[in-house]
């Protein structure tokens, strides 16, 4: 065995060793079983807050429902008030009572601050508490989790899964196999870049495994309290009328509603009080004076959405090229193109469908090329597009289509459609040259697109309608925070934002 091979095998062995050590560490630090106490309605002396109970109920992995449970608990303790003005609990509102909030924990203050930010002095619908973007919701909930974990540790209910020494040792040793691979690559004559890649690659999955397992685990006291709360959960579960209680029922059930939400029993209240990114298509807005839900439409399939004049002209050219190409192909093609020729040929049709498909797909490719959309998958998709024609030929179909001279019905439809599309793009390009309109309103949401080069959606509430269609913010324009009031110069035809001024941030 060569020296390099020995190094590679040693590296592989180290990976196996690391995985074994990691598995032992996982097994040694797993949470013990929670022994559920008998069903009870008692919280016990000095009960944990609903947020900490949510951590325990989620097996120390997450704090799902903790924010909603904390809001309900704050309402039960008189710091907030929940009112349900009609039958639909989704239209409940939350109000600050002004009661002294001096003794609150950091996570309770965080929840209260979020409610205060939205509710102000007049109150807000509970749906307005949700954040209007994934990133902010994620950051806020991450910070909330940290604060809850600190409280759980202070109470002796939780601890870090791996001791610092163990975590450091696992982290440092996960680079050892890669180091051996790197040395082997260098001594095998590979370049430094290749050696670095070989050295780093094995560490990445191991690092991912380690990062996934870092977190909290139960203490013996934590398991005992989790067992008690499992008893409360069983008690609440047994009461069928408890599950569908709306948030405003906190007036009657006091802290039970908060604990029920933390334990996942009162599913309805927990669902309605979402401290998440919120609904993309239905956002509560108070711009214009009163709170109301605004429905947002994102025109994902609208041709020319957010396009510049140059881009519209390019798209018009592409559509025109396809229309003209299809017409020329239909007019110029001859039936004998698909007939076998040569000294031994019997003049039978050879794959007429494939020939037709090839023509159509070729023209489409030309259109894609002119439109500047030729990507890495284009040829593969084009290849797949040839398959139906090939399949049809193999079964004797489409032979008559090739025999016929002139336009086929499908071709006529396609030519008219692409011609109309070209005319549509040209019209948009002309309209785009007109002076922009100015609209002022509050940004409801900013939604990115899968393609980074595509314009982002900017949903704006101008205060005069309950429905809005998102505008197209160019990819190079700076992002605008939801909640800001902005003045936009827009082209209504393409819904493109030409400029944006923040009025109030």
């Amino acid at each position: 065995m060569t020296f390099e091979a020995e190094l590679y095998w040693s590296g592989a062995g180290l990976i196996a060793l690391w995985l074994a050590a990691f598995g032992i560490a996982l097994a040694a630090t797993r949470n013990g079983a929670v022994e559920a106490a008998p069903a009870t309605q008692e919280f016990g002396p000095e009960p944990e807050s609903p947020a900490v109970v949510a951590l325990l109920a989620n097996r120390w992995r997450s704090v799902d429902r903790a924010a909603a449970a904390t809001l309900l608990d704050l309402a039960a303790r008189g710091l907030l008030e929940l009112r349900q003005p009609a039958d639909d609990p989704a239209h409940s509102t939350v109000h600050l009572t002004g009661k002294d909030a001096a003794d609150l924990t950091p996570y309770e203050r965080r929840v209260l601050a979020r409610v205060a930010e939205r509710a102000g002095e007049t109150g807000a619908p509970i749906g307005a508490i949700a954040f209007r973007g994934e990133e902010r919701a994620k950051a806020w909930n991450g910070a909330l989790r940290q604060e809850i974990v600190v409280e759980a540790r202070r109470r002796g209910l939780s601890r870090t899964r791996f001791a610092p020494l163990l975590a450091t040792a696992l982290f440092m040793t996960l680079f050892a196999p890669g180091a051996l691979f790197g040395v082997a690559a260098v001594s095998g004559g590979h370049g430094i870049r290749g050696a670095l890649a070989v050295a780093v690659l094995p560490a990445l999955p191991l690092m991912w495994l380690l990062a996934r397992s870092l977190g909290e685990r139960a203490t013996p006291r934590g398991l005992e309290r989790a067992g008690h709360w499992a008893g409360v959960q069983a008690w609440l579960h047994a009461h069928e009328e408890f599950a569908p209680l709306p948030p405003a029922a906190v007036t009657v059930w006091d802290r039970y509603l908060g604990y029920g939400t933390a334990l996942g029993v009162t599913s309805r209240a927990g669902r309605l009080l979402g401290f998440d990114a919120g609904d993309k298509r239905r956002v509560w807005s108070s711009y214009g004076g009163t709170w109301r839900p605004v429905r947002i439409r994102y025109p994902r399939l609208r041709p020319g959405f957010g396009a510049t004049t140059a881009r519209l002209l390019q798209l018009a050219c592409a559509a025109g090229v396809v229309a003209v190409g299809l017409y020329l192909f239909a007019v110029l093609r001859q039936p004998d193109w698909a007939v076998t020729t040569g000294p031994d040929a019997d003049h039978s049709l050879r794959r007429p469908g494939l020939l037709l498909s090839a023509g159509w797909v070729g023209i489409a490719l030309l259109g894609v090329l002119v439109a500047g959309r030729f990507g890495r998958w284009t040829l593969f998709v084009a290849f797949l597009a040839l398959m139906p024609g090939n399949f049809g030929s193999a079964h004797g179909w489409l032979g008559h289509a090739m025999d016929r001279s002139g336009l086929l019905v499908g071709e006529t439809v396609a030519i008219v459609s692409f011609g109309a599309l070209a005319a549509y793009y040209l019209t948009l390009a002309v309209l785009e040259r007109r002076a922009p309109h100015t609209v002022t309103g509050e940004v409801l949401r900013m939604e990115p697109r899968r393609r980074e080069s595509a314009p982002r959606f900017l949903a704006l509430d101008t205060g005069d309608a309950d429905r809005t269609v998102a505008w197209a913010l160019p990819p190079e324009a700076p992002a605008v925070a939801p909640g800001s009031v902005v003045r936009l110069a827009v082209s209504p035809a393409t819904r493109a934002v030409r400029s944006a001024d923040v009025v109030t941030g």
């Binding site: 069903a39 309605q41 009112r83 009461h239 009657v252 006091d254």
Partner: protein, 188 residues
């Protein structure tokens, strides 16, 4: 053809049987829940009853000549702990006890020394906590009774209730006029 009809019939009968068994089991579960909820009320009531002798003794040290009030509390407690009461009678006895306790605690206003007594204050606090717990236990009990009644009166619960016996309406444990707080109406 006959096999198909037979098979479909067997499946339908099995589904029907499963539905009936499930409904009956739900009735049993709800009835047991009312009993468990009543047991919780009983525990909380006993806790309150145990506090009262010490409270009376504490008050007697400072307000011995308020004999009528003290004896009323003792008598009301005697009725409440006497046993053999149905749910409605028990609720009435507890209401009477709550009313007499209210008068006892009001003595603290007339006797500053009694009010300042730490032991009396502690007992008073424990009593308040116990009464809160009774209120929640009563809510849970009444909620369980309501679910049980709904299941009993809905189809097919109303048909099945008679089959296994032991299913019948339960009494609500309702707060009497004495302990009911005035309802505050807020216009949103």
């Amino acid at each position: 053809m006959g096999v198909i009809v037979g098979g479909i019939s067997a499946v339908l009968i099995a589904v029907l049987a499963w539905w009936l068994v499930r409904t009956y089991n739900r009735l049993v579960r709800l009835r047991n829940q009312t009993q468990a909820s009543w047991a919780q009320i009983d525990v909380q009531l006993k806790r309150r009853h145990e506090l009262i002798p010490n409270l009376v003794e504490g008050a007697r040290g400072y307000a011995a000549h308020e004999r009528a009030t003290l004896e009323a509390v003792v008598a009301a407690r005697g009725v409440a702990t006497g046993g053999g009461l149905g749910i409605v009678d028990q609720a009435a006895a507890e209401d009477a006890l709550t009313a007499s306790l209210g008068r006892l605690l009001a003595l603290g206003e007339n006797y500053p020394q009694l009010k300042a007594d730490r032991h009396f204050a502690t007992l008073q606090e424990e009593l308040t906590t116990a009464e809160d717990r009774i209120a929640y236990a009563r809510q849970f009990y009444n909620s369980a009774v309501q679910s049980y009644h709904t299941a009993l009166e809905s189809f097919p619960g109303n048909l099945l209730a008679g089959l296994g016996g032991a299913h019948g309406r339960k009494e609500y444990f309702e707060a009497g006029a004495v302990v009911q707080d005035a309802v505050q109406v807020r216009f949103a």
